[in-house]
Symmetry: C2
Subunit: 329 residues, 2 copies
Amino acid sequence: MADLYRILPGFGDVEAAAARLGGWSVRTPLLEAHKLGARLGYRLFVKAECLQRTGSFKFRGAFNRLSAMSEAERRRGVVAFSSGNHAQGVACAAELLGIRAAIVMPADAPRIKIENTRGYGAEVVLYDRITQSREDIADRLVAERGATLIRPFDDPLIVAGQGTTAIEAIEDAATLGIAFDVLAAPASGGGLIAGCALAGAALSPKTRVYTVEPAGLDDHARSLRAGHRVGHAPDAHSICDALQATMPGEITFAINRRLLAGGLVVSDDEVRAAMRVAFTELKLVLEPSGAAALAAALAGRIPGPPSAVCVIASGGNVDAAFFTQVLGD
Amino acid sequence: MADLYRILPGFGDVEAAAARLGGWSVRTPLLEAHKLGARLGYRLFVKAECLQRTGSFKFRGAFNRLSAMSEAERRRGVVAFSSGNHAQGVACAAELLGIRAAIVMPADAPRIKIENTRGYGAEVVLYDRITQSREDIADRLVAERGATLIRPFDDPLIVAGQGTTAIEAIEDAATLGIAFDVLAAPASGGGLIAGCALAGAALSPKTRVYTVEPAGLDDHARSLRAGHRVGHAPDAHSICDALQATMPGEITFAINRRLLAGGLVVSDDEVRAAMRVAFTELKLVLEPSGAAALAAALAGRIPGPPSAVCVIASGGNVDAAFFTQVLGD
């Protein structure tokens, strides 16, 4: 991977990704939350990536990454490890491009994510998070098959693909005559926010871009304050199953430390409340991680006072049983 | 109302409504359901009107109707009766236009619909469906205040407003190079389907347009077969609380008998299954009535074989308790 580190992606890579994704990814709607915005005192827009193929933004990066593979690489297949959304993104992109995919997933991942990954025709290899190393399992598959490992975030093509989300949001806002003061998105490894920051810097330079993380898993917020990568508390946990990466990526942080305005933090209870509001007022199904940025807005955490804010609702892959529990809170 | 009967709305009225709604209504996304379509053997598109202002298409007709009122009429306010979605549509349009609204609603309407109607600043007058007549209550308010009664469907401007839904869907499909073989939408009084049929006849004349109704409440299907308006079975009931009108409207049926291809029927269990699929695969919150057309597709009821089908997901105003019950089925 050393060669990749030499070249950080730039906005040109995000534009190239947008061209590759054209006709494949969904141009998800930018929805204005009129009532919520009136309550908060600014115009609030939700970029509904839960409506993306596979139910999360991860399809964008995965498709962009797999599209760049040579014919010879494609024949040997891809391997990925993921608790769920990257898994589905890679599996779906692989199916569309006719590439064999093996996905290493924790046995306790949300059932819907495991089933959907299989539904895209991928081979799912389950592992025990306590006793097994997903990296070891993936490395073995890569070695055995000559397959390409598709990293979840620390890859220039993945970052560039995720950044297409912000290109669309900024373009759609511009047609309304609006430039966002703030764009906020959840961060795990930081691929989505890094790609969005590249798009923001190029297309909407006055927009301040923030990560949103669950309390305890706030390694981006800590790293941005420290000026270098630090991990989150080792015993931290959250209902946000897609935001568990222990430390920002190297590539992603190299972008984020330069371009982000800061890191916001939300509690699990605030995330649950945002999931309920998404159900009641927006008619969107959001998974916990997908509701984190909305939660930051609803909890009054957006620095400002802003006049127009975009929150990325990054995914909607949540089991019915858990969703039911949240609605009943 | 006799003067209204003389003039049925035409496509020009739908186009005029689209111009009036510009900048006020949401241009809701046309979402392709890739996985469901692959399973069904045709391209399936969902027009997500649950993402409309107020959570249903009813805002379109209401805003179009209220926009046409004179200044003198506006000062005297509006009155409507509705189990919920028309109520919210009128209340929201009235708030945006600065018009006082009184809405007569059954006391057993979904709580979310009552609360939201109040949330738009409307006065809500609750009545008992067994012992009271909503028409009498509304007539009294109209007489007392000189207010304008906003009918839920049998009004040319309401029909024209609802038809803007189909203009958008047909335009968005055209940008993909697609013309729908079939467009299906739920019907209660028939305003949505009549407006869509006008748009379809003008913009996509080969598209066959069908109503979808719950079993037992299939007065459109029966009326289309009979060639004249007949009511549904008096003791019929369904979970589709927004599809309870006992007979097609006069204006709407005059259009529908001429332009529709027929009426489809779904069971409550099929509607529940469609709500679950919308949750799992589309990440959309649909109320029972809003899931009826999707249910027809999933149950294999679309006549064909079609190659491209649009189902209108007409609304998403459903209480959390009921939604939870459906997810647990």
